[in-house]
């Protein structure tokens, strides 16, 4: 006990260091928390901006007129504010895309998860990933200058347009700007998203289920389709919903290849504008804060976010309803 004062000093030094260290820990944790909070702030900022910047528009136009109006020409005189044509364009291009992406994505996922040899899977997955990583403006170029000309060639199989040859069956011409070409390209772009998430879901199905199925004499296809697919349906639905969100929000492919004219039509052979391409078209010009153009693109953006939110909520409940746990 000779060194009593020294021990006291050491202990107090220890506590000082500990306090210092604890303080540093708190500081770091707060910093990390703030970083994590930034994503929440982003969401809040998006919602607040979309609502506040489009509110002035709804003082001029009633929401009923906005949703049910069949004519979209806000920058003309007299202005007309019916968003239905834009929603229609979004709907048609998305439907075309999903007609391509859902079958292709599901089949690819089922094949990669249940049929393909590991070697093939190792090659196919990166290819699909690269397909998903190509910039959308490049896909737009592809849709306008490759897919649409090919479609036009197919549309006149014997050197004469189907619309002239068989006008009763094909009353419409396939125009240079149309919704079919970009829709198909969009579908190809979305396919990897659907296939990769669906495949993960299918591979997560326990192997005992497959073995049980094989033991009863089922073939590979029967096992995949009647056992694995239903067991993974929750994740598969989630992938479809993500695909729908991407199709609805896709901008550049449609902006390049579908024309920018708002048209109320369900015919994919015709050009049209979507919600997203309207935003692009207006922002290509000068849009100072507070002008009609400025307000309408925020209103369009709000519509877009509400649409994707709607699909996400539906998807959430669907995939919960069908979830299987093992």
């Amino acid at each position: 006990m000779v060194d009593q004062p020294l021990a006291v000093a050491a202990r107090s030094l220890f506590y000082r260091k500990k306090r210092h260290r604890d303080l540093r820990q708190r500081f770091i944790e707060v910093l990390l928390f703030l970083a994590a909070l930034s994503s929440v702030l982003t969401t809040i900022a998006i919602m607040v901006l979309l609502v506040t910047e489009s509110l002035p528009l709804f003082e001029k136009v009633s929401i009923i007129e906005f949703i049910t109006g069949r004519d979209w020409a806000p920058l003309f005189d007299p202005p007309r504010y019916g968003i239905l044509p834009l929603i229609c364009g979004t709907f048609v291009t998305s439907m075309v895309a999903l007609f391509v992406a859902i079958p292709m994505g599901t089949i690819a996922a089922m094949y990669l998860s249940e049929f393909a040899a590991p070697k093939l899977r190792e090659v196919a997955k990166p290819v699909l990933e690269i397909l998903a990583g190509i910039p959308t403006v490049v896909y737009g170029y592809f849709a306008l200058l490759f897919v649409t000309p090919v479609l036009q060639m197919l549309y006149s199989p014997f050197g004469e347009k189907l619309s002239e040859w068989l006008p009763d069956i094909f009353p419409y011409e396939l125009e240079g700007f149309n919704m079919l070409g970009p829709g198909i390209v969009m579908g190809i772009m979305i396919t990897p998203t659907i296939s990769s998430i669906s495949e993960d879901a299918m591979r997560a199905v326990p192997v005992e289920l497959r073995e049980g199925s094989y033991a009863t004499g089922a073939t590979r296809f029967q096992t995949a389709w009647k056992v694995v697919f239903p067991a993974a349906i929750s994740g598969i639905i989630a992938s479809y919903i993500l695909g729908i969100s991407r199709a609805v929000g896709e901008t550049m492919i449609v902006a390049v290849a579908a024309g920018l004219q708002p048209t109320l039509t369900l015919n994919p052979l015709r050009p049209a504008a979507t919600i997203t391409t309207y935003i692009v078209q207006v922002s290509l010009g000068d849009t100072p804060h507070g002008t009609i153009g400025y307000q309408t693109i925020f209103a369009a953006g709000l519509t877009l976010v509400l649409l994707t939110l709607f699909f996400n909520v539906i998807g959430y409940f669907l995939s919960r309803r069908f979830r299987e746990t093992y």
């Binding site: 260290r21 540093r24 820990q25 910093l31 990390l32 970083a35 930034s38 994503s39 929440v40 982003t42 998006i46 901006l49 979309l50 292709m104 089949i107 690819a108 089922m110 094949y111 990669l112 049929f115 196919a124 290819v127 990933e129 690269i130 990583g133 190509i134 910039p135 959308t136 403006v137 490049v138 170029y141 592809f142 200058l145 490759f146 190809i188 396919t191 073939t219 590979r220 296809f221 029967q222 969100s245 609805v248 929000g249 901008t251 550049m252 390049v256 935003i279 692009v280 922002s283 290509l284 000068d286 849009t287 804060h289 693109i297 925020f298 953006g301 877009l304 976010v305 994707t308 996400n312």
Partner: protein, 306 residues
């Protein structure tokens, strides 16, 4: 039919046939994907590669298609990516660390988690509207490199956060306990032990996020990226003290995808050749980055055996 051996055999054969047919269909779908990828690349290459020359890389945009080049777009892309990387990487990794290592299981953590998932599904053009209202109007940052970089950073933040979390989650808890046992604080444990092991996977996520940002067009159109920039932003290096200048972040800009969009939307076929050439460079960049990410992931997965 039931009971007879021939009937059972026929039934089995029929089902096997369906199985074989599906296998062929599945292969076909994969082939279609590969063929589309090849068609896209070939179409771009056939149209665009003849336009690729030294002059194309060192010229400014021009109203004459043959004299137009991508110098300002290339420099713009590089500068915007610099801002994006410097913002998204620290914030993304920090958020990932917080959510995975620090967050308690309470409603705030749940909220942040749901929020990150939802943000990943928000259409990119909506980020453009956010930038237009927040960075451009409210914060008065203008149509600048800074606005563009911040916008793209917000856009790729969810990618960085999600991959950081997955990387951290893959590290066995024994490593954490070992660090604690030696008296490390929580931050020392994360910084000195967990992060170095996770850095490979995090890097993969960052590369994928940046490759997405390079190709992103729509949000930058909304904030008013110009397509006809015939000058370069001020240089970041100066001859006098402090040798670095940040004037370039306030400079107007154009980027590769916007330049390509401008060219492809012109009716003259000469400009569409330019668009193809710009497309070749864009696709080469994204292929390179994606390839690097795939390779890195492959290597790290092979290398580490816990």
């Amino acid at each position: 039919m039931q009971g007879s051996l021939a009937g059972v055999r026929g039934n089995i054969q029929r089902r096997q046939l369906w199985s074989a047919i599906f296998a062929i269909v599945g292969l076909l779908v994969l082939f279609i994907a590969i063929i589309v990828l090849l068609a896209l690349i070939l179409q771009l290459a056939i149209q665009g590669v003849p336009r690729l020359s030294w002059a194309f890389f060192t010229s400014f945009p021009s109203s004459k298609a043959e004299e137009a080049g991508i110098l300002s777009a290339l420099v713009g892309t590089a500068l915007v990516m610099l801002v994006t990387a410097f913002t998204a990487i620290p914030i993304g990794i920090a958020s990932g660390i917080y959510l995975e290592e620090y967050a308690r299981k309470n409603w705030i953590a749940a909220l942040i988690e749901i929020n990150v998932t939802n943000l990943a599904g928000v259409p990119s053009i909506v980020y453009g509207l956010l930038a237009m209202g927040l960075f451009k109007s409210a914060l008065q940052l203008g149509e600048s490199v800074l606005t563009a970089g911040l916008t793209l950073a917000l856009l790729i933040l969810p990618v960085v956060i999600v991959t950081t979390r997955e990387a951290l989650r893959a590290i066995p808890s024994g490593l954490r306990e070992a660090a604690y046992a030696l008296g490390a604080s929580k931050w020392q444990m994360v910084w000195d032990h967990i992060l170095p092991y996770a850095s490979g996977s995090i890097l993969t996520g960052i590369i994928i996020g940046l490759s997405r940002a390079i190709g992103e067009t729509a949000p930058l159109i909304t904030i008013g990226a110009l397509t006809f920039i015939s000058f370069l932003p001020p240089s970041p290096f100066k001859s006098d003290f402090p040798f670095l200048s940040f004037d370039w972040v306030r400079s107007p800009f154009t980027v590769m995808p916007i330049q390509m969009f401008n060219w492809v939307s012109r009716p003259e076929p000469e400009f569409q050749l330019n668009a193809a050439a710009a497309g070749v460079i864009l696709v080469a960049l994204t292929l390179l980055m994606n390839g690097l990410a795939i390779y890195l992931r492959y290597r790290f997965r092979k290398g580490v055996k816990w």
